[in-house]
Amino acid sequence: MPALIEAKHLCYRYPSASDWALEGVGLAISPGEMVAVTGPSACGKSTLAMAIAGCLHEKPGGVWRGSVRADGIDITSRSLYENAELVGLVQQNPEDQFCTLTVEDEVAFGLENRRCPRDEMVRRIDWALDVVGAQHLLTRQLATLSGGEKQRIAIASILAARPRVLILDEPTSNLDPRATQAILVILERLRNDDGLTLIVIEHKLHALARFAPRIVRMAQGRISDQHAQTDMKTDKYIRAPAPPGDVVSRLENVSHWFGTRRALEDLSVSIHRGQVVAVMGDNGSGKSTLLRCLMGLIRPIEGRVIVLDRDQPVVSALAERAGIVFQNPDHQLLGDSVWDDAMMLARNTGQAEFVAPKAERQLRKSGLWHRRADSPWTLSYGQKRRLNLAAATSHDPDLVLADEILIGQDPANAQGLMEHLRALADRGSAVVVSLHNLATAEQYADRVLFLERGQLTLDASIDGLRPFLLSTGREAYLESAQ
C-alpha cells in the first residue's frame, strides 16, 4: 500500500536557532495506520508534527531540507491551507488553540472559514461532537469545561473538517487518568470506525498499548528506533512508607471558594517532616488550591492554616523556610540568568552567602552549571523545570510544594525530579507533590491524599492507595500504573 505520509531526509532549523530541530528524518505512514511518536523533551516530536501538518515550510527564516509528501504530493508545493485539508493537528494545550468562546462556535469555526453552507455545517458539527461523545456540551461556554472536555472539543473542532490524517500532540498530558481514558476511547473509535490515520505524540506509551501502534522513538532531532508495539508495561514498585516526623503544616476545617465554585470543603490535614505526600484526584478536584493554601498564597475563606508554627501565615513570612514549584515552568523564570534565578530567593531573604554553595551543587547536579550565565529563557523545557526546582529548594526549605510538575516531562526528566523531591524528604523536609500517575506515587511517596470535588476522600499510607482506587471504581488510575 502506498504511504499516505512520507518524509525523506527531512531537516528543519528554526529561525535564529543554531541547531537543527529535525535532522535527516525518514518516515512512511500507511493509510489507517496508528503511529506513536515518543522521545525525551525537545527531541523534535512536536516539530515533526508541525512539519507534517505543513506549518513549517512557509515559516520565514526557517531552513527546510528534504521532503514530506502527503497523499503523493510534496507539501512544499502547497499552502498551509491546502495541506490542512488533508492533515489536522490537535495541539498539546486545547486552551491555546481555541479561537472562539462557545463549543458550537469552536467546532463551526473551521467550517465557517471554508464557507461551508449552514445545513452542512450543522450536520458536520453534530457528527464531530457525536464521535467525541460531547453532544451534551453543544451550548456550553468553553471556559466552563473541564480539561478532558476541552480536549474533546479541540479534537472535534479539527475532525469537523474531516481530515484524513489526525495528529495529536500529547493529547493526555494535562489530563487525569479518567479523562485520559475518555480520550483513548475516542482514538479507538476514530481508528476502528472511521479508519483515520493517527499520529499520536505521547510520553505515556502504556496508555496506547491497547492500540498496538507502531512506535517511533526520537532523540536529538532524529528517529532513533522504529518498531511494532511490544510490551510497554513498567515494573511495579511500592515503597515502604517512611515514618512521619514533626508536623510542619496543619490545615483545620479549611474551606475555600472561587466565586460560587467550592474548591476545598472542610479539609483537615497535617503534613510531617521526612515524608513525601502525594496529592491526587481528578482535574479540578482542589489539588492546586490545597498546595497554595499550604504556602499562604491563598488565605482560605473558612478554617485555620498553621504553617511552620505560624498561624494564618502570609507567603512573605514563609518564603525563607518553604519553596513552591508551579505547573508551568515559564511562570517562574524571574532571573536574568540561570544563576540569578537560582539565587533569587536566597538574595531576597538575606541567605545568599549560606545558599550559594548549595545552589552551585544543585545546578551542577541538574546539568545546568555550564549554562549559569545564560538567560533561563534559552533553556529546554526539561532544563527549565530542573531550574525551577533548584530555585525553590536550594535553601533547604522545611516545606516543599510541587504542583503537577511532571506534566509534559519525559520519563527520564520525571524520574530526576521525583528523585530530587525524595532526597529532600529523606533529609528531613516535608514534601507535598500533586500528580496523576499511580506508579510514580507508589514509587516515591509515603502517604497519599485523594481529593474529590474539594473534599478529602482518602488520607492514608501509600500502600492504601491501590485498594482505595479499586474499591471506589477508579480503574483508570490503576491503568495509569500499568
Binding site: L80, Y81, L111, R115, I125, W257, S316, A319
Partner: protein
C-alpha cells in the same frame, strides 16, 4: 463566599437580554451622545429614571448587580458638590455672607445636577449593556453587519484571552512572592525591577500563545477567503423593531431639545 458583583454578561431571560446586540449598542451610543448634547438636568434626570426602569424590568437590581455602584453615586455626588461650591455666578439661592464667604447659586445647582446625572446616565447605560449582552454574540452580530471578520475575531480573541492573562499574571505574582519578592516598602527602582520580572513571563506567554493560536486558526482556513459563512443566525424580533421606533423618537426628541436649548 465572595459575593462581589463582576461587570460581565450574566444570562437572564429578560426582554433586554433578548434584544439584538446591535439594537442595544445603538441605544448605548444614542444615550451617551444625547446625554452630552442636551444641557438640561431634567432631561438627564429622565434618562436616568428611564434606565433605572429598564434595569428593574430586565430583572437587574442596580444597587446590587452593578459593579461599583456606590463609587458611581459617590463620584456623581462629588461632581455635584464641586459645581455647587465653586460656581459663583447666577441667581443666589443661599447666602451665608457676612458670617462666611459662601453662597450657592441656581446656576451652580443646575450645572452640578446636570453633570452628576449625565455621569450616572452614561455609566448606567454602559453597565446595562455589558450585563445584558454576550460579547461573542455582539462580535458575531458586528461581523454579520459588515465588520471585516478579521477585526471581529480580534475582538473575540481579546475577550477570550483576557481572563487567561489575568490568571497567568496572578500565578507569576504568586511565584514572585514565594521567592521572597516584596512590593511593599521597596524603593521605586526596586518596584520597577520586580514589575519587569512580572511582565517578562507574561510577554513570553503571550507570544507563545499567539504562535499556537496562529497555527490553530490557519490550520482551520482562517483568512483563506475574503468572506465566510456563519452558523449563528441573527434574529431581529418584534421587540427590536419596537425598540428601533422608540429609539428614533428618542433621538428626534433629543435633537429638538438640544437645538431649543
Amino acid at each position: 463566599m465572595s459575593s462581589r458583583a463582576k461587570l460581565q454578561y450574566r444570562p437572564l431571560a429578560s426582554w433586554l437580554h433578548g434584544l439584538h446586540p446591535l439594537t442595544k449598542l445603538a441605544w448605548l451610543l444614542i444615550i451617551t451622545v444625547s446625554s452630552l448634547a442636551v444641557h438640561d438636568p431634567w432631561y438627564a434626570g429622565l434618562v436616568v429614571a428611564g434606565l433605572w426602569l429598564v434595569a428593574r424590568t430586565a430583572r437587574i437590581r442596580p444597587a446590587t448587580d452593578l459593579r461599583g455602584w456606590q463609587l458611581v453615586v459617590a463620584t456623581a455626588g462629588t461632581f455635584f458638590a464641586l459645581h455647587v461650591l465653586f460656581t459663583r455666578s447666577g441667581t443666589i439661592v443661599l447666602d451665608l455672607r457676612p458670617r462666611a464667604a459662601f453662597w450657592i447659586t441656581h446656576t451652580g445647582l443646575e450645572r452640578g445636577l446636570l453633570v452628576a446625572l449625565r455621569f450616572v446616565a452614561v455609566i448606567l447605560a454602559s453597565q446595562l449593556f455589558v450585563l445584558s449582552t454576550d460579547s461573542s454574540t455582539l462580535a458575531y452580530a458586528l461581523m454579520r453587519a459588515g465588520l471585516p471578520y478579521r477585526y471581529g475575531f480580534a475582538l473575540v480573541t481579546a475577550i477570550r484571552l483576557a481572563p487567561l492573562f489575568e490568571l497567568e499574571a496572578n500565578t507569576v505574582y504568586q511565584a514572585q512572592l514565594a521567592r521572597g519578592v516584596r512590593y511593599d516598602g521597596s524603593v521605586f527602582r526596586r518596584i520597577i525591577e520586580v514589575l519587569r520580572q512580572l511582565l517578562l513571563p507574561l510577554l513570553v506567554g503571550a507570544l507563545r500563545r499567539a504562535d499556537h493560536l496562529a497555527v490553530s486558526m490557519e490550520g482551520r482556513q482562517f483568512g483563506r477567503y475574503r468572506d465566510r459563512t456563519y452558523l449563528r443566525q441573527a434574529r431581529v424580533r418584534r421587540a427590536d423593531i419596537i425598540s428601533w421606533i422608540a429609539m428614533l423618537l428618542f433621538a428626534i426628541g433629543s435633537v429638538l431639545m438640544a437645538i431649543s436649548a
